[in-house]
């Protein structure tokens, strides 16, 4: 009887720990797309601690896109536990050599030829405001540091 009680307590503790662990997890909705113009878009949305919520966030992003851009190819849509590389830099807001769209809840990098990327970046920011957002930013690529400055640092 005593052993059963101990087992029950241990089970309860294990359940609580597992719950705490899962509840502590965060998920980043990340989507990558390719447009017919040859531009690649990587979108990172704000993290959520709900796995299903993460999937819903990706769906929310992709649904109108799939309806309006049949030619756009979804490279991947996933819920990342941690971000690396471009996705992490995008989320952190560090200067990048790409055009980026910033708006509350979402950051989007546009990789490809500079001229089309700039125009598309501004169009997307404008389009978001047209759809009711109060503001959206198209951030230009960070200017590469001059060679001398890079060597001296």
């Amino acid at each position: 009887m005593k052993q059963a009680a101990v087992a029950l307590v241990l089970l309860a503790i294990a359940s609580w720990l597992a719950h705490t662990h899962v509840a502590g997890l965060i998920y980043y909705p990340v989507v990558q797309l390719r447009s017919p113009e040859g531009l690649t878009y990587t979108a990172v949305q704000d993290s959520t601690n709900d796995r299903q919520g993460c999937g819903a966030a990706n769906d929310r992003f992709l649904r109108p896109l799939k309806e309006q851009c049949k030619q756009c190819k979804v490279v991947f849509a996933r819920c990342a536990r941690t971000l690396e590389g471009l996705e992490a830099e995008l989320q952190d807001g560090v200067p990048l050599p790409y055009h980026r769209v910033f708006a509350p809840g979402i950051r989007l990098a546009i990789v490809g030829s500079a001229a089309p990327a700039k125009i598309t970046c501004e169009l997307i920011a404008g389009g978001m405001v047209q759809r009711g957002l109060s503001s959206a930013a198209c951030v230009y690529p960070a200017t590469p540091r001059p060679l001398r400055a890079a060597l001296e640092s």
Partner: protein, 264 residues
């Protein structure tokens, strides 16, 4: 001799008429209303006076002026403002020559865009020391009190500098601190008193939106870019991404469960 004098007189009259019409063709706009000390090229202006490209208009303390541009755009100049019509070209029948480059050196103004803002968006620029304002069918206000502040009444504006372009929609207020840092959205309550009082005064001015006023959200069309010639594919590409991103952002703004802030 009399005949020669008459011919000369007619020639001079014809020349004068031609010069007047040429002047009209080159003019950018007309002073619609004014009160207080308002000067163009350092000389006092009068109502209905036409203004030429290259003219700097200044307003003194307590003064205000409304300029009606030939494309239907209206500019209200607040007191203690210096505003320059750098370049203005408008031909109703030929959009390819459209150009409206304006400088707000200091002070504040309100602008309702006209035909150029609607049909030739890239041809319009309102420059301040910190940002260049591009319009998208708009009624907006700008105050240069270092930094530059912008507030949108209707439509949308793009505030561009070397860091990027921030598009502000109706009701939004933004600030651009330097020419190398991205403009940022701010709450209207954060405006400094100088900008706040200017916007209150300018916002109270009754302006008749002309027939050419492009209404809210006349955002980019996907037309070829004048500078690069690049046509941004089918509008569905960027429009689809914008729609998806807007849906994601709308939830974040509404506090729908996302964590973290990605204010720009």
């Amino acid at each position: 001799m009399d005949s020669a004098a008459r011919h000369l007189g007619r020639f001079v009259a014809a020349l004068a008429t031609t010069a007047v019409f040429a002047g009209s063709a080159l003019a950018a706009g007309v002073v619609q209303t004014l009160h207080g000390d308002v000067r163009a090229a350092q000389r006092p202006v009068s109502v209905n006076q036409r203004l030429l490209p290259g003219t700097t208009v200044t307003t003194g303390s307590g003064a205000q002026a409304v300029i009606l541009f030939d494309d239907g755009a209206q500019v209200v100049l607040h007191q203690n403002t210096e505003f320059r019509i750098v370049d203005f070209r408008y031909n109703d029948a030929d959009a390819t020559t459209d150009r409206s480059i304006l400088d707000l050196v200091k002070g504040a103004l309100r602008m309702v865009s006209g035909t150029i803002g609607r049909r030739s968006r890239p041809a319009f620029a309102l420059r301040t020391p910190q940002v260049t304002i591009g319009i998208r069918g708009t009624d907006f206000m700008v105050a240069v009190v270092n930094p530059t502040y912008v507030q949108v009444i209707q439509g949308a504006v793009g505030a561009s500098n070397t860091a990027g372009t921030v598009v502000f929609g109706a009701g939004a207020t933004g600030a651009a601190t330097t020419s190398a840092t991205l403009a940022t959205p701010i709450v209207a309550g954060a405006l400094p008193p100088a900008a706040s009082s200017a916007f209150n005064a300018l916002g109270a001015v009754k302006l008749g939106y002309g027939a050419s006023y492009g209404v809210a959200g006349g955002v980019a069309t996907g037309a070829p870019d004048a500078a690069t010639g690049f046509t941004p594919g089918t509008p569905s590409t960027w429009a689809g991404i914008a729609a998806g991103a807007a849906a994601a952002a709308a939830l974040a703004v509404g506090g729908g469960g996302h964590k973290g802030s990605t204010s720009h």
